[in-house]
Point group: C2
Chain length 245, copies 2
C-alpha cells in the first residue's frame, strides 16, 4: 500500500481546516486519534489472535505524554487501553495547560490510572511503551527532562509504539545526527491522518489512524485516503525495502 506523506506545515493547516471549516472540535478529533492509537498496539492488529490470547504479552503499558496534542492523544489512548483490560500508567512531566488536558487527567484519575514520577523505576515493570511525547509540530531542540527520557526509551528492549513520529526525530529529516534519538527506532509507529515525511527513515511496523478525513481535505492536501477495512479505526500499512511507503 502506498500513502503520500504530509509536511508538518500542511498537517497543521489540515487540523486548522478540520476545526475552522470542518466543524470538528479538538475533543472529537483527539477522541478518534487516541482510539486509533489504542488499537494500533501490536496485539490488536490481528483481531482473532487478540481475542484468543487477550493481553497475553503483558498488561503494563507506560504512556509517555508530551505537553501538546501528541500527549493528549496518548492520554485518550491510555483511557481506552484501561477499558480493554490493560494497566496503563502515565508519565506526564510537562503537563499541557488547557482545559481539555485537565479534563483528560480527571477521566484517567477516575479510572485509577496512575501518573508516575519515577520514569526509570516504572520502566522496570513495563511491558510496552507508547511514545506520545512529540508529534508533527516538533521543531527541536529537546528540553529537559526529554533528552534523558528519550535516551532511556531508545536503549530499552521494551517494545515501543510511537504516535505520529518517533519523538526527537525531525518531521522532515528523520532522526537527529547525534545525541538522544539518533538511534531511536520504535517497533511500531502510528501515523495520524497521513504519514509525515520522516517515515522514509523508519523501519518497523507502520499503522495509520484517525479515520475522519473527507475527500475535499484529501484532495486539497494531495493525500491518499487510506482504505480502512470494515469498521476498523486503524490500518497497518507497509514500508518497502527502500523505505518507501
Amino acid at each position: 500500500m502506498s500513502l503520500k506523506a504530509i509536511s508538518s506545515k500542511d498537517a497543521a493547516a489540515l487540523d486548522k481546516d478540520l476545526m475552522e471549516i470542518g466543524g470538528w472540535s479538538l475533543d472529537q478529533l483527539m477522541e478518534l486519534a487516541g482510539l486509533s492509537v489504542s488499537q494500533a498496539d501490536m496485539r490488536a492488529d490481528k483481531v482473532e489472535v487478540y481475542r484468543v490470547h487477550p493481553l497475553s504479552s503483558g498488561k503494563n503499558i507506560l504512556v509517555v505524554c508530551g505537553p501538546g496534542n501528541n500527549g493528549g492523544d496518548g492520554l485518550v489512548a491510555a483511557r481506552h487501553l484501561a477499558q480493554y483490560g490493560y494497566n496503563p500508567s502515565i508519565y506526564y512531566p510537562k503537563e499541557g495547560k488547557n482545559e481539555l488536558y485537565q479534563r483528560l487527567k480527571t477521566q484517567l484519575n477516575n479510572l485509577a490510572i496512575p501518573f508516575i514520577t519515577d520514569f526509570g523505576e516504572a520502566l522496570k515493570s513495563t511491558h510496552f511503551i507508547i511514545d506520545a511525547i512529540f508529534g508533527f509540530s516538533f521543531g527541536g531542540p529537546l528540553r529537559e527532562p526529554f533528552p534523558s527520557i528519550i535516551s532511556q526509551i531508545e536503549s530499552t528492549s521494551i517494545p515501543v509504539l510511537s504516535v505520529d513520529a518517533p519523538s526527537s526525530w525531525d518531521i522532515q529529516e528523520g532522526p537527529p545526527k547525534e545525541g538522544p534519538g539518533a538511534k531511536f527506532m520504535p517497533q511500531s509507529l502510528i501515523s495520524l491522518s497521513a504519514p509525515k515525511p520522516c517515515v522514509k527513515h523508519y523501519r518497523g511496523r507502520h499503522f495509520i489512524g484517525g479515520r475522519f478525513l473527507t475527500k475535499a481535505i484529501v484532495e486539497k492536501y494531495g493525500l491518499d485516503l487510506p482504505q480502512y477495512p470494515g469498521i476498523d479505526q486503524v490500518l497497518e500499512i507497509g514500508v518497502d525495502a527502500e523505505g518507501r511507503l
Copy 2:
C-alpha cells in the same frame, strides 16, 4: 449475559456525573456513543463476515434524528457509516439548536451526506433505518411530524436499529397501548451505557455500546460493566425467552 437496567432518571444523573465530575465533554461522549451505534449494525457484529461481504446487504441507510442527544448520536453514527463506505442520508425534521449539533451538520455536509426532507420518498430506496429519534429522556406525547414518521417506520419491512429505546416507547413501561409505536418492534436495539427498563418488552437483537463507564459509576448506579471483547466498542447481549436480560 445479564445486565441490569437503568431508569431514565438515573441515566440522566449518570450523564451529568460523567460531565460534571468525570471531566467528559458532550463531544467526547457523543463521539463514542455514535461510534458504537455505527458498529452495532447487523452486518458489523461478525467482523469476519463483514470483511468478506462488506456492505452486501445494501448501502443506503436512512438515519432518522430527533432534536436531542439521541439525534446527535445518530448524526455521529452517520458520519462513521459514511467512512465505512455506506451511503447514509439524514432525516432531521426538528433540528437541535446547540452549537454541537450545528457542527455535526457541518461535518456531515462536508462528507456530502444528504439531509432529506421527503421521508416517504427516501424510504423507497433505503436498505436500513437507524431510529435515533428519542432516547432515555423521552416522556411523550409524540409531536408532529413524529407520529406519522413512527407509523411509517413501524409498518415498513426495512430492518431498523433503534438507539437506546424504540422511539415512542415509554422508557419505563415499553410500547404505547395504542397509536403510533404500539406495534413497533425494531430488529435491533443498541442500549447506550446500560439497558433501559423498557427492554423487558423488547424482542430482537440487542447490543450495548458506549464503552466509557468507570467502576465508580457502575457501583453508584448499581449497574453491570459489560464485558466487551478485545477492542470492540459494541457488544451483542441476549434477551431470554421471557424477555429478561
